[in-house]
Structure formats: structure tokens, C-alpha cells
Symmetry: C2
Subunit: 462 residues, 2 copies
């Protein structure tokens, strides 16, 4: 790792001194991912220096690695001739990604610059949404025909060798591009030249429709340890492949997005690194939920006002009020995290709802009973040490029982709410990750107040 940071330091020094010669020398040996990271951290003028000095063939790869939000302003820095070169050098799927990230105006302008022999595939890929299997796939797969001999197959592959992204799987297609099977590249290298492909090709058991969600593709690759996942259309025509690096990217994106939603952020997961995201963007993504939840939280205050007389008649109740309320938020948050993650990993379908409810109900009862008992013991042991105004008709035991019962009810109901709300959200076609910890905490805060005061009133006769 230290070698990379040395490279990066040299590069940053070259940019700082506006030393074009040194800059090119550094860039030559660097990986596009490191260059993209450096570019992201530069000021406006430094970025101008970067783009006007770097080799366009290399910059095509850097550009494809930049976060979505930087694509348009970066490509606008370039001359039309440079834009044309970039669009020519870049792979089909990266070209389409870039075109999908820019404004409609810019897309029309850039499409005019795409070379005639690339325009058809570009336009056909543009039809697929970015988050579908079709939007993620690359069209540079290796394909041969079943009636070829091994020698013919190798010759046909050799011609496309530099363009092809992965030779891990060589797909066998028919005259209409329909997917018939696959061979491993090593099968070609280790078979006799005159062997016919269809004699030893294997069936393709797993493939995905171009219109399917990218998350489904990632789940299949992950579950079945696939090297490459072929993407087909309704007619079983092979359109492209999803490779391991796409899957890694999808998994990281989806996990980040889920975590952010679970913490109450608006909008899509940001691809930019935390520090390089402008403060205003952070602000806009965090504010709406905060404000909404704050309004909701006033409901808890209204409950407190309504039960003013209960609280005033036995103010020691305040000692455990925040605890009972917070315990509901914590257990509800745990339950929702479990369920949301299980859904993201494809473990729960709509039929599981009864099993989930039953499991969480038992869990809630167990957690509630044990925590309630623990708190009752703590109450009876410690509260009499410093509190001497307990009315005789109530007594510490009754008080402890009230706290314990309220806590147990609050925990059981919150566990159930936390596990079922995300499932309900999915049934209502809302992203379950949105109904996570912050929303659930706010909801069970209100119910916790109500439960606590009702139980206190009932058991202590206030």
C-alpha cells in the first residue's frame, strides 16, 4: 500500500507545481482508480491542469471511475475532439453509464460524437435503466458457435482478444445469437484442434433477463459463486455479461444505500467519498428526515402533557420514563435491522411474514420478561436508598412491578413493530430500509409514553 501513496504524493506535487512533464511521467504508471481519487480531491484550476495534460486514452478510464455527480462537469472541461476520443476509447458499458449520468442536452450533443460503428450498440444499451442487469452488463463477451472446431473457435476468439473483458466463460450461441451453452477457455486450450465445440460444451444453468434488477443479478452471482452471469432478452438472445467487478460494485452500492436509508437519509446513496461530498449535499440529504421526525416527536410531548397529573402525583416515575421509552427504540431498531438485512440478502419472501412475526413475538416476550425482571430488582434494591417520599399506599414493590410491566409491554410491542413495519413497507412497495431505526424509534417513543403512563395509572392507581 505504501508504494501507492508514494505515487500519489509525487503526483500531487507535480500538479501543485504545474509540472506537466513530471505529471505525465507519474500518470503513466498509475492505476485509473488512484488517478480518479486524485482528480476528485483537486481544486477547479488543478482539474483544468489535469485534464489538459493527461493522455485521453488513459483519461477515458479515469472518467468512467469518477462518481456520477462529477461526470458532466468533467466532460464539459474537454474540447469536442477530446470528447470524441474519450467516447471512442471507452468500453460500451462505460460509455452508456456516462451518457446516462449527464443531462439530456449533453447526452444529445455527446451522442453526435460517438463513432458510427459504436452508435447502434450505444443506443440499444441506453434503453436499459442503470440499475437493471441490462444497464450493468458489458457487451464485450467471448462467443463462438457450436459447429466450430476448437481451432476455428480459437482463431475467432484471437481476433477479438483485446476487446473481450473476460475469457473465464466462452459462450456458445447459434445463428440467431441464442445462448446454447458455454465452454471454459481452458477446455479450448486443452482439447484437440479438430474437436467440435458442441461435443463438449456445457449447459448454461443460470442467466438473467436484461430487465431484471441489478440486485437480483448480484444475489445470483453471490449465491452460486458464479464467475460471470450471462444477460439475455425475452427470446433468450445473449446480450451481454455481468462480471465480478460489476457485482462487487453493486453489492457495495446497495449496502451503502441500505445503511444510509436505515439511518434516515434522503435520496440515492452517494458514490462520492464522504469527504469529497460538498457539505450542502450532506445537508440536503439529512435535513428532510430530521425535520419530519422532529415533527413526529412532538406527539411524545403531547402525551407527556396529557399525563401531567400522573407525573406530578408521583414524580419519581420520571426516573424510568426515558429508559422505558428508549428500550423500545433500541429493540425495535435491532429487529428492523435483522429483517431488512435478511430481505436484502434475499432470505425472506412475503410468505415468511407469519414466521417472522411469531419469532419476534417470542423474542420480544423473552427480552421484555428478562429486562423487566432485571429492572424490578434494580428498582427495589437502589431506589429506596435515595428516595424517601414514596407514598405508603404504593410502596417500592408495587412501583417496581409497574416499571417492569411497562418495560415488558414496551419491548414486546416494539420488537413486533420493528420487525413487521419493514415487511409491511415492502408489501406497500415502499423501500423497507426507509422504515428503519429512526422512524421506528420515533413511533415507539410515542407508544412507550402511552404504555408507561397507562400501566402506572392502572397498577399504582394514580
Amino acid at each position: 500500500m505504501s508504494e501507492e501513496s508514494k505515487e500519489t504524493r509525487h503526483m500531487l506535487a507535480a500538479i501543485d507545481e504545474r509540472n506537466a512533464e513530471q505529471f505525465l511521467l507519474c500518470a503513466e504508471t498509475m492505476h485509473y482508480a488512484d488517478l480518479a481519487e486524485i482528480y476528485e480531491s483537486l481544486t477547479e484550476e488543478e482539474r483544468d491542469f489535469f485534464t489538459s495534460n493527461i493522455d485521453m486514452e488513459q483519461f477515458a478510464e479515469v472518467l468512467a471511475d469518477l462518481p456520477d455527480t462529477l461526470i458532466e462537469e468533467t466532460i464539459e472541461r474537454l474540447e469536442p475532439a477530446e470528447q470524441r476520443e474519450i467516447l471512442d476509447q471507452i468500453s460500451d458499458d462505460d460509455r452508456v453509464d456516462i451518457l446516462q449520468d449527464v443531462s439530456d442536452d449533453a447526452r444529445e450533443r455527446l451522442l453526435e460524437l460517438v463513432e458510427p460503428d459504436d452508435i447502434e450498440v450505444t443506443k440499444s444499451l441506453l434503453k436499459y435503466d442503470e440499475s437493471t442487469a441490462g444497464g450493468r452488463m458489458t457487451t464485450h463477451f467471448a462467443s463462438i458457435h457450436g459447429e466450430m472446431t476448437v481451432q476455428q473457435a480459437l482463431e475467432s476468439l484471437r481476433k477479438e482478444s483485446e476487446e473481450t473483458e473476460s475469457f473465464a466463460r466462452v459462450y456458445v450461441i447459434d445463428a440467431k445469437d441464442k445462448l446454447c451453452g458455454y465452454v471454459r477457455f481452458r477446455d479450448l486450450a486443452f482439447n484437440l484442434p479438430e474437436t467440435i465445440i458442441s461435443d463438449f460444451m456445457r449447459p448454461v444453468k443460470r442467466f438473467i433477463l436484461a430487465s431484471a434488477d441489478q440486485e437480483e443479478a448480484a444475489q445470483m452471482v453471490s449465491k452460486y459463486d458464479l464467475f460471470v452471469l450471462p444477460v439475455v432478452n425475452e427470446q433468450h438472445r445473449l446480450l451481454g455479461i455481468i462480471t465480478h467487478d460489476d457485482v462487487v460494485e453493486i453489492l457495495e452500492e446497495e449496502s451503502t444505500e441500505d445503511m444510509e436509508k436505515m439511518a434516515g437519509f434522503s435520496g440515492e446513496g452517494s458514490e462520492e467519498t464522504y469527504l469529497n461530498t460538498p457539505t450542502m449535499i450532506h445537508f440536503r440529504r439529512r435535513f428532510p428526515w430530521l425535520f419530519g421526525l422532529a415533527i413526529l416527536a412532538i406527539a411524545s410531548g403531547i402525551v407527556m402533557i396529557k399525563f401531567e397529573d400522573v407525573l406530578n402525583s408521583l414524580f419519581i416515575l420520571s426516573l424510568f420514563l426515558p429508559m422505558v421509552v428508549a428500550a423500545g427504540g433500541n429493540t425495535g431498531g435491532q429487529a428492523s435491522t435483522m429483517v431488512i438485512r435478511a430481505m436484502a440478502l434475499g432470505e425472506l419472501d412475503q410468505d415468511s411474514i407469519i414466521r417472522v412475526a411469531w419469532k419476534e413475538l417470542r423474542l420480544g416476550l423473552m427480552l421484555g420478561a428478562l429486562l423487566g425482571t432485571g429492572m424490578a430488582i434494580i428498582t427495589i434494591t437502589f431506589v429506596p436508598m435515595f428516595y424517601h417520599d414514596m407514598p405508603a399506599e404504593i410502596g417500592f414493590t408495587k412501583f417496581a412491578i409497574a416499571v417492569a410491566v411497562a418495560l415488558a409491554i414496551q419491548i414486546t410491542s416494539s420488537t413486533l413493530v420493528g420487525s413487521l413495519l419493514p415487511l409491511g413497507a415492502r408489501a406497500a412497495k415502499i423501500d423497507p430500509a426507509v422504515i428503519a431505526a429512526p422512524a421506528i424509534t420515533t413511533i415507539v417513543d410515542v407508544s412507550g409514553m402511552v404504555i408507561y403512563f397507562f400501566v402506572a395509572k392502572a397498577i399504582l392507581g394514580l
Copy 2:
């Protein structure tokens, strides 16, 4: 996908009827990942039927795909002869994984069953912890020597063809197994047979030490879009490779673990699916944090008791108390999620602490100012409609200002706490994900109470 569930349904029917013939027929065509999922969902007697009928060669793969917690009880179901066959059939890294998952007793017993020609590599791999690059790597990589011709290289690879996991990268090593470079398999297939390997081999720029953390390996593969990551020892000897499916597994494990820790779970992320994890295990993983946080939450209650006179002299303060407290938890949770995820993706090092603090301080001030202003407006507009007991010397405007100021201070401080605590945790070698939403919420609940009552006292002169 529907084809898979049909297979699964047939299989479950065969198990239900204890129909061994049908069972074997189904198993033959099924993927080990599906078989493992089915096995996980079976009862004790069904599992016995499963293990006593399935072909041991196939069961070796199923076993390697089972969650850690099921490994020991599953392998104990088998006869020693079957265990021996499994240990022989399985790949080196899976064998070591299994041995690492069982108790010390079982490990000693199983090691005796390992074939003599596998025992050395097994023992050497057992030295690496499961969560290191060395613990994750497979030793079935393709390697050749630089002085070989292409023809010699292909012949040597052909012999190992069935054992080798990935031919995407063929590594070139010297007589002492030191890593010298790599060639792509297609380079071999498309070069003349008499070409010398060292004439066209490429340098290996990225590799990892066997002792490095698995997360570091996954981050390298993800950042640099690698096919395969070579694992070396201190002497640069090539020991193994980490492939795409290891990386996918590492990423899913680490994301699940982070999410669970962020929601307050104890222990390691569970590999078992949510529904198949026994309720008692869920209970044990959730209870400790819930109990600890409940004890901490009593501190909030103590603050309330201490400020009893402030609350009693102006009970309408209760209306906004839960909101101010909860807003801190929400904004602190957002900040910590951002920072923890950025750390997990390798974006933040220890030096970034000042930049993070500065960013979150500005964000906190902006969020606090805007939310405070919003709440002040709401207070002045709506509270006078139903509350008629506001003392004249205080008035609604002063009251609204007190609420707004307390809210702004609470949000600013909570944002800062939420972002800095995870960084502090890492500096103190505590896993930052542990110091996430639930812990931060509980901490800022207490500080929120204190801030609210102090500000109310100061501004309203109570």
C-alpha cells in the same frame, strides 16, 4: 428463478416421503448452494436422511457452504469413513475453514483422517486466522516458470487443470516460489508455442500479505477491479490467491456485521439465515446491549428528577422535551452512519479527523439553525392556540427562542459526537461500528436533557 424453486419443491417432497431414489435423482442436478439452503431448513431426522443418502463427493461442497455454526453437528452425523472421504474431496481452503469451525477435540480427530499428501498444506493454512487474507486464500492457483516455453507452460497447466480454481491469471514464479509476474491464459493460447514466458510476462503490481486483514484484500480487489489477488508471505513467496467469490463473501459478511453492530448486536455476524437462526441465539445476541443501554438510559431519568422544579414551574416545556432529545439521537445516528461507512470503504484515515470534525461542525450548525428556526415558528404559531397558561413575564416568543436555542445546541453537539466517537473508537482499537446509533442515541439523550433544562432555566429565568 422459478426453475430453482421447482427443483427445491421436488427435493423437499422426496425428503418428506423419505424416498431415497427420488432424492438422489433430484440432488444430482442441483447446485450445492440450493442443497445447503435445503439442508439448513430440515429437522433432525430429515438431516439424518439427507446425510445418509447423499453422495459424499457432492456433500463435501454442500458442507463447505453451510453456516459455521452448523458445521460441527453436521460432520458428527457422518461415519469416520465418510468424514475421511469428505476431507479428501474438499478443496484445501474449504477443508481448513471446516477445521477452524469445529471444537479443538473434533479438529484433532478430523486431522487424523486427512490424507498424508494433504496434511502439510492443511497444517500450514491452519496457522492463518479465518479473517486474514491467508485464511481466505485458495492454494489452487495456476503457476509456471519464466524460463518455460509457451508449450511447456501449457503442458504443465494441463496436468493441474481440474484442480485449479482460476486460470484468469497464471502466475510466474521462480525456483524458490517467489512471485515474478503473471500472464493471462489467453496470452498463452495466442502466442507461438516456442515463445519464452519471461519475454511477455507482465509485472504484478498488486498483492497482499497473508497476515493482512480480509477486509483490506476485499477493498483492493474492489478499488482496482482485480480478477484475482495474489497472497504472498514476507519473503514474497506466492502462497495462494483470493478470487472474486471470496471477495463477494467478505463484502457481504462485513456489511452484515457492520449493520448488526450499528443496531447494537453482540458477537460476530451470523452466517445463518435469519429464520434458521434459533430464537435463543437471537436472544443472546440482542440482550446484552439492550440491558447495558437501559442502565445508561436511567441517567436521563436522573437528569429529569434533578430538574423537577424547572419542569413543574412550566410544564409546557414537556411538549418539546422528547423532540429535542430525539433530534439529537437522529442527527447523531446519521453522522455516525456516514463516518462508519466511509471508514469501512477505506475512505478515512486517522489524519482525516480534523476534516471530519470541521465538516460535521458546519453541518451541525446549519441543521441546528434551520431546525431551530422552523420549530420556533411552529411554536409561536400553534402553541398559543391551545395553551393559555403561559406566564406573562415569559411569553410565547421567549419560550420559542428557548426551544430553538436548545434544539440548535443539541443538534450541533450530537452531530459532532456522532461523527467523532466512531473515529475515537478506532483510535482506541475498538470496532467503530459498535459505537453507532444505539450507543450514540443513549449518550445524546442524556446530554439533550441537560441542554434543554439548562437553556430553559437560563433564557426563561426559571
